[in-house]
């Protein structure tokens, strides 16, 4: 099959990739662009470990042909992580032990980022709902939920001080 060149924005910079048609965004990010924080748990939209932001919305990259993100903005966990230190959500996950084996963690943090970008003070039900597509087989859901809630509180305190 003829290859095609697809251009999209990855963490604010344009990238060009050459792919066979129907290659997934997940495969391109992991295998061509080295964004291995995008995980590979099922390739069928069942686990959420490959979640990335497309134009700010959380999407499972294993279900997206890369042609579908042509011209759009893609952000992975690599793009959320500052060069130095941690994003406040990452710090909250670290402090609250919101990770066990670490495999679902990137997807969870990307989903949390999207949630808090849209809704800076979500209720617990809204947090749980946002995580409904992400599986943690170590079953550490409660610390993950608490990490997100603590990130919300930390952001609120930051705002109050400002």
């Amino acid at each position: 099959m003829d290859k095609v060149i697809v251009t999209f924005e990855l963490a604010g910079r344009d990238v060009d990739v050459m792919v066979s048609p129907m290659t997934t965004l997940q495969s391109v990010l992991r295998n061509q662009l080295g964004h291995t924080a995008v995980k590979d748990g099922c390739r069928q939209g069942g686990c959420g470990s490959c979640t990335v932001l497309v134009d700010g919305e959380p999407m499972m990259s294993c279900l997206l042909p890369v042609e579908d993100v042509a011209g759009r903005s893609v952000i992975t966990l690599e793009g959320i992580t500052p060069t130095d230190g941690l994003h406040p959500i990452q710090q909250a996950f670290l402090d609250a032990n919101g990770y066990q084996c670490g495999y679902c963690t990137p997807g969870m943090i990307v989903v949390a980022k999207a949630l808090l970008d849209h809704n800076p003070s979500p209720s617990r039900d809204e947090v749980v709902d946002a995580l409904s597509g992400n599986v943690c087989r170590c079953t550490g859901y409660l610390p993950i939920i608490e990490a997100i809630e603590s990130a919300v509180r930390a952001a609120g305190q930051q705002e109050a001080r400002a």
Binding site: K39, T81, Y99, G102
Partner: protein, 448 residues
């Protein structure tokens, strides 16, 4: 003088924390190497069949196909995982020879330049199979005339000359004769897939010095290394296994499955070889927790003392034994439960069927014993007419009690645990139970 403690009593940050929340920690399949080949497996589409032929001619034409590995390429093709600790016989085929015994059994490994090419080539391998009757139930598998799964003519694993793991303590028939109640129960559990979020996998690399480096997410690095050494007939010092991040295992990554063939592929091609399960492989072919059937017969006095317990258990090992014999041994040691019972008889069978081979998962063997025994305890309580707390306090073992397998109970805490649980759920125990401890019984009561 007080000693300053730096770790004890302190919260210590996990060393893998920053790597996990940034996603920078590399899992096995996150690694990539120049020239890396992809291994995909041709698997049995049926539960039981004679394998009469394999036709690779169309697969070989696929662009990117590099080579196939068959049983003839494997130096020591028949092994058993626990062979390392002296368990016999060797009965699992690394790659099938003339028969397949479970759906998904590996037959031919395909090495190709890309994952897509490997998958396409796998789809073009033609198998000549003559399907055989299959057996999926442990008790059916032990009946005369049942389909035979093993290569030695029956479906039982032999424990030191016996067809089951046995425990004999006291005289169980005498106990039943003296009992006021006989309480019987049959308990079944299903196979359970551990379903780790990261699938099983490894990457094997040939090194310039003649050694092979293997990145793997095994839970049992030296089991994997030693079994690879046996299967490939190479000294262990030519194998360098590197573990690290494991994206969930729960027992599902204890078995030696992917490393020998990836390493063999690296030997045959002198290129890095990646062998990582798809999600469907993880669910279909990686070892599960066994299905169990457990029959319990208890003799109980009118005041609730269990004086005889007979347990007959069957673990469905699937087509190969893997670590299930070990589960049976643990099961037999625990099937009387944490109770002092003077007469115990346990027969625990490791049974071969045409289901996916089974192995480790969180307390395998023991959790199923606990499930059966604790439901049985509730049944006994109902029959005798006492509450579930009472039946357990009455029969709880104490330090120094001899367990049916002849070891004295040490560090018994059942009584104290139940006392604490009663407080937590707001259940007011009778004073006699509040006063009980796991301390050794007075000598005149000893010997129960």
């Amino acid at each position: 003088m007080t000693t300053e403690l730096h770790v004890v009593g302190q919260s210590v940050a996990r060393s893998d924390g920053v790597g996990s929340v940034t996603g920078r920690s590399l899992f096995t399949a996150d690694r990539s190497f120049p020239g890396m080949l992809h291994l995909k497996m041709v698997r049995s589409p049926v539960h039981h069949a004679l394998l009469k032929g394999v036709d690779l001619s169309e697969a070989e034409k696929v662009r990117g196909f590099v080579r196939a590995l068959t049983h003839a390429d494997v130096p020591h093709n028949v092994y058993t995982i626990l062979g390392l600790i002296g368990v016999e016989p060797e009965e699992e085929f690394v790659l099938a020879v003339d028969r397949v015994r479970y759906k998904g059994e590996p037959i031919v490994a395909i090495l190709a330049e890309t994952e897509a090419a490997a998958m396409e080539a796998v789809s073009k391998v033609r198998l000549d199979l003559e399907e055989l009757p299959a057996v999926f139930d442990v008790e059916e598998a032990l009946q005369p005339g049942a389909p035979v799964v093993t290569h030695w003519g029956n479906n039982t694993f032999m424990f030191e000359g016996h067809n089951c793991r046995r425990v004999r303590y006291g005289d169980v028939e005498q106990g039943f004769a003296e009992a006021d109640h006989i309480v019987e129960g049959v308990y079944s559990t299903s196979p359970i897939e551990q379903a780790p979020l990261e699938t099983t996998g490894c990457i094997a690399l040939p090194e310039a010095n003649g050694r092979y480096t293997v990145y793997t997410n095994t839970q049992a690095l030296y089991f994997s290394l030693d079994n690879t050494s046996i299967i490939l007939q190479v000294p262990g010092n030519r194998l360098h296994f590197i573990g690290g991040m494991v994206g969930g295992g729960f027992g599902g990554k204890v078995d030696v499955i992917v490393e020998p063939l990836a390493t063999l592929g690296a030997m045959k091609t002198n290129r890095p070889v990646r062998y990582v399960y798809s999600r469907s492989e993880e669910m279909q072919v990686s070892s599960t927790r066994s299905a169990w059937k457990i029959r319990v017969k208890d003799g109980v006095t009118s005041d609730g003392r269990i004086i005889a317990r007979k347990v007959t258990s069957y673990a469905d090992s699937g087509a190969y034994s893997r670590q299930t014999p070990y589960a049976l041994t643990k099961h037999a040691a625990n099937a009387a439960g944490p109770y002092a019972i003077p007469n115990v008889w346990i027969d625990a069978y490791c049974v071969y069927t045409n289901r996916t081979p089974t192995s480790a998962m969180r307390g395998f063997g023991v959790t199923m014993a606990s499930f059966a025994i604790e439901v049985q305890m509730d049944r006994i309580a109902e029959r005798v007419g006492v509450d579930p707390w009472t039946i357990r306090f009455l029969n709880a073992y104490r330090n120094g009690d001899i367990k049916p397998h002849r070891k004295p109970a040490e560090d018994a805490t059942l009584i104290e645990t139940m006392q604490a649980a009663a407080v937590l759920v707001g259940h007011d125990l009778p004073e006699a139970f509040k006063a009980m401890t796991s301390d050794p019984r007075p000598t005149q009561e000893g010997g129960r």
